[in-house]
Symmetry: C2
Subunit: 307 residues, 2 copies
Amino acid sequence: MAATARTITRSAQPFNLDAFVTRCTSDVNAALDHFLPSEKVKPATIHKAMRYSLFAGGKRMRPALVLAAAHACGGATGPALPLACAVECIHTYSLIHDDLPAMDNDDFRRGKPTNHKVFGEGMAVLAGDALLTQAFEVAAQCQGWPRYSHQRIILELAQASGSLQLVAGQVADLEGEGKKLTVPELRYIHERKTSALLCCSVRLGGMSANCTPRQLEALTDFGYHVGLAFQVIDDILDITQTSEQLGKTAGKDIAAQKATYPAIVGLEKSRKIATQLTTKAFAALKPFKGRATALEALANYLLKRDR
Amino acid sequence: MAATARTITRSAQPFNLDAFVTRCTSDVNAALDHFLPSEKVKPATIHKAMRYSLFAGGKRMRPALVLAAAHACGGATGPALPLACAVECIHTYSLIHDDLPAMDNDDFRRGKPTNHKVFGEGMAVLAGDALLTQAFEVAAQCQGWPRYSHQRIILELAQASGSLQLVAGQVADLEGEGKKLTVPELRYIHERKTSALLCCSVRLGGMSANCTPRQLEALTDFGYHVGLAFQVIDDILDITQTSEQLGKTAGKDIAAQKATYPAIVGLEKSRKIATQLTTKAFAALKPFKGRATALEALANYLLKRDR
């Protein structure tokens, strides 16, 4: 995330987002390094390939949402970390597979050559597979609660990542190329491709803090809207920013004839929709009565980001 | 498995393996059909692709091992079924990805065109991803015990399938092509590519029956040796059988310059090794005192199979 100091003052006390994100990234990176086999462990190639993409300088937005949600529910970072790492493993696997020639065929990601460009297609498929598997191994190492058992947490993660959610979004995205989609059809894709895992992130954060059912409901509502806003912004940035600014190939959506909000309703209306969705996300945080400052700041950042 | 009646009489009472396997297959197929979204569920293509490979007429050997191990420990089929389905999902995902052009580039599997030949490469990658994810969703629906919690069961499945075991085997297999390997190097591949998931299958079966630590140890020993024997036989069949007999491309190992037991030590010695490994597997079953008839019969079948 941007290195400039950014404070928002919606809540009583100002919140330093940069400090929060820096701390988050440092904690999550240390935990990921702890959970993943080192590059020296045999077979070295697969661990190099997994770590190459996992430590390629991602924004760690999903882990930050996990930790922020845990804090909003009165929880600590420690118990939330395995779940923060698990969603980041899922996210990274999905990017590696999505970048493959048979899918989006992308050569750059986060300003670096994509996994298959460095390690070859076969190894990139395996690195994605291994990270997806690792996600469940890491998630299973979380602390359970009577209300949020390991069984429930694994089901939560698997369902958000499976054929009805994350994978469904990729499928619909792939099948939608070159077709003229309606806004509801596009929203169907966004809900699954992006919103499902973001929503799962805040829910898992809440669960790690043994949140109340009412808090979980509020987090679900928040995650759903932030996820949709995030994807609308992503579509906008694909048009308005350069490849250098994004660290990945810009203008890909138009080249691949992908349906996007800007393509269907125009840039101005898309920006309006993203703002409206973020407003709904803010409204969902009401039950936290000012204790969800990190979540608020993250939603605000995601709306205003430029990469 | 072969339809001919086959009984073995190592134990006190004869055991009808065909009846056991037929019953297993029927139970596992019904359970898989129950756990997986139907082909009508949106996005239909992914569920068609997942089911295409899952119901392509596989031998259901791993599920049979799960159920047989559960029975050996005094357990019933019901509690073992989610775990039997989970290992079959893992096995099927690994075949779909292994058959991809970037990996083994195989056009036929179980006598039918491979997944990517029917659904395209992108969809085949996603179908594998979805099946891998589904495995954890299904496994999490098993019944836990104080000794074998959901946490422990998920860790078991994830570790057997991850970058140190199943994926490691694929990686080493891929990297070993065209190289002259030693017997220990080849065994390293077999232990991971095949033995890990077979061993995990019998262990999970035992866990579903709340087995004793001593039983679990015996199952581990059995699964390890049966897994190694299975892969040696697979290598032999690749040379001695036709593509029609195998339902997949025969002679692939030689074409891909893969190291195999027959290539390193010859056919005769390979057959001897497979028999020795199976004998060790039988010996591991001693603590069950005649209650592991199904496991014995399966090990015997796997040694003598012709496809």
